[in-house]
Amino acid sequence: MSRKENILSKPTLETGADEDQLLRVSLGPQHPSTHGVFRMNVALDGETVVSLKPVFGYLHRNHEKIAENIPYLGSMPYTDRLDYLCPLTNNHAYALAVEKLGGIEVPERAEYIRIITSELTRVMNHTVFMGFFLGDLGAWGSALMYAFREREKLFDLFEELTGARMMTNYMRFGGCRNDLPAGWIKKARTFVDGYDAFLDEMESLIVGNEILLARTQNIGQISKERMINAGITGPMLRAAGVPYDIRKVDAYGIYDRFDFKIPYGENGDCYDRMMIRFLEMRESLKILKQAIADIPEGDFVNPKVKSAKFKAKPGEAYGRIEGPKGELGFHLISDGGVNPYRYHVRPPSFVNLTLIEDMCLGLDLADVVVILGSVDIVLGEVDR
């Protein structure tokens, strides 16, 4: 099973088996572990993967065309449906891009609310990742239900703040839609304080488990340079050893005010990707504690900006944030009208899938499922 590999081109795998010996199987779109309608045409020689062609587009509803026919605010509720596991970071990214386009500045309290909601969403996304990752490995159920139990607490917080559990539609250009309801901050603090205990419990369930170590270490290993060249961002890139976190690089919003660190690993295999997400959750909890402690009073939105009738001067802007899955960017071109002229989403899951074939070549069918789980894709965002 020799693997020809150089930094740029796709590696190919020559096995002794000739063409008709291969077993062609298509994993998906209805498959228990592809996180949604995602299909992989896999050619197997025995159990080892010889070729893997990803196929997606089953959930494509042309979100960008809709966005070009409705006003700027109209596509804010649609951004919840991009990566439906972390709606508030999507809203934050879109609001950031429009503020860059229109040159709107955001009051102090709104920035703090945005930091708190984004970090809560990052913790929610990584917790649910643990549940699904163990589901792919075979321990279907227990870790997933513990993750969902914590997610329910977060859903209650978001429902109280934004009015909906998942489809929040909460950010507006220049701040948020409504202020924090009374007592919300106290509930958020109790949630954050209790979360370390939950993380310790999940770590003792997952991190040392020998079967998990055997099944995830050195699986789907990609070198640092190839990941940068393939545009992979987020925990996958940091697991390979590149400490690139847009919260530190662009320092958007008021992230430079908080002291937190960026964990990064060395090997870039499935195990490191999982561990990096654990460490990131702990860093997010640190940010949350600081943000909840010193959130100022003040107006929660820039009073001068009317989001519903927002009109930007002609121009172009590309705003991006560090979403839980990687860099989520919005590229907006406006011709001065009420509707954006061009609205393009740069989703992290879509670009992170570029190297899926390189990671799976030469491994088993069971590893393909684990690698796809470690990439952590959400089809709403991949297909747009």
């Binding site: 960008e64 961002t233 662009d250 002609p314 121009g315 172009e316 879509f350």
Partner: protein, 217 residues
């Protein structure tokens, strides 16, 4: 984030003499000015930007296709905004449209902000081809296939240029401004009358029984 685009433009024109590069002003407060690069020496510019020690733009973050139809059709605003027109003029001059690809490059090594590059096709009809940068940046592979799928920009040199989101037998390019929505979509009785009429035209023979409950209005 403080890369000065003008400096990079003159450095480019100095190091790569035969390259035609133009600086484009971006009037919006985001000040993300861009560099227009000719399609056939795009790969050369990109490799230079990636490999030269001073710049090291090793990460192509985003690649988005943009459709600029023929100017006289969509001419509401007097001056076409971010595009230096051949002659400055308030009244609209009919320039034939083109398809454009915008590249956002970042340097992970020096943690430098977005450098925006643009490449354009001759026109929106036959020769709508741009050199593919997948040999330089692997991250462009899927995004170029998406631009081809939704805009019809033909990337020459792409390893396997197929449709990525729409199904393979689909002919049209949905994201173009002059795209007409085929009305053979599944009949979904929304309250708006015009969708009703179009649906009736489309399903003349079949008596859409759920409809008449609204006709009584």
């Amino acid at each position: 984030m403080s890369i000065i685009v003008e400096e990079i433009v003159c450095q480019l024109s100095k190091d790569l003499p035969n390259v035609e590069v133009m600086y484009l002003e971006n009037p919006s407060p985001s000040e993300q000015h861009s560099i227009l690069v000719e399609s056939d020496d795009l790969v050369e510019v990109m490799t230079y930007l990636r490999d030269s020690s001073g710049l090291e733009f090793d990460y192509l973050s985003n690649l988005s296709g943009v459709d600029w139809p023929n100017a006289d059709v969509a001419q509401k605003v007097a001056i076409e905004k971010s595009e230096a027109e051949s002659e400055e003029g308030t009244e609209s001059q009919s320039t034939d449209g083109f398809l454009e690809v915008v590249y956002h490059l970042y340097s992970m090594a020096r943690k430098e902000g977005p450098l925006v590059l643009r490449a354009r096709t001759q026109d929106r009809g036959e020769n709508n081809s741009i050199a593919s940068v997948t040999p330089v940046y692997r991250s462009a592979e899927f995004q170029e296939r998406e631009a081809f799928d939704l805009f019809g920009i033909d990337f020459t040199g792409h390893p396997d240029l197929r449709r990525i989101l729409m199904w393979d037998e689909y002919e049209d390019f949905p994201m173009r401004k002059d795209y007409v929505n085929p009305d053979d979509y599944e009949y979904e009785p929304t309250p708006h009358a015009d969708t009703l009429k179009r649906a009736e035209v489309h399903y003349p023979q079949e008596e859409p029984e759920p409809v008449e409950s609204k006709d009584k209005r």
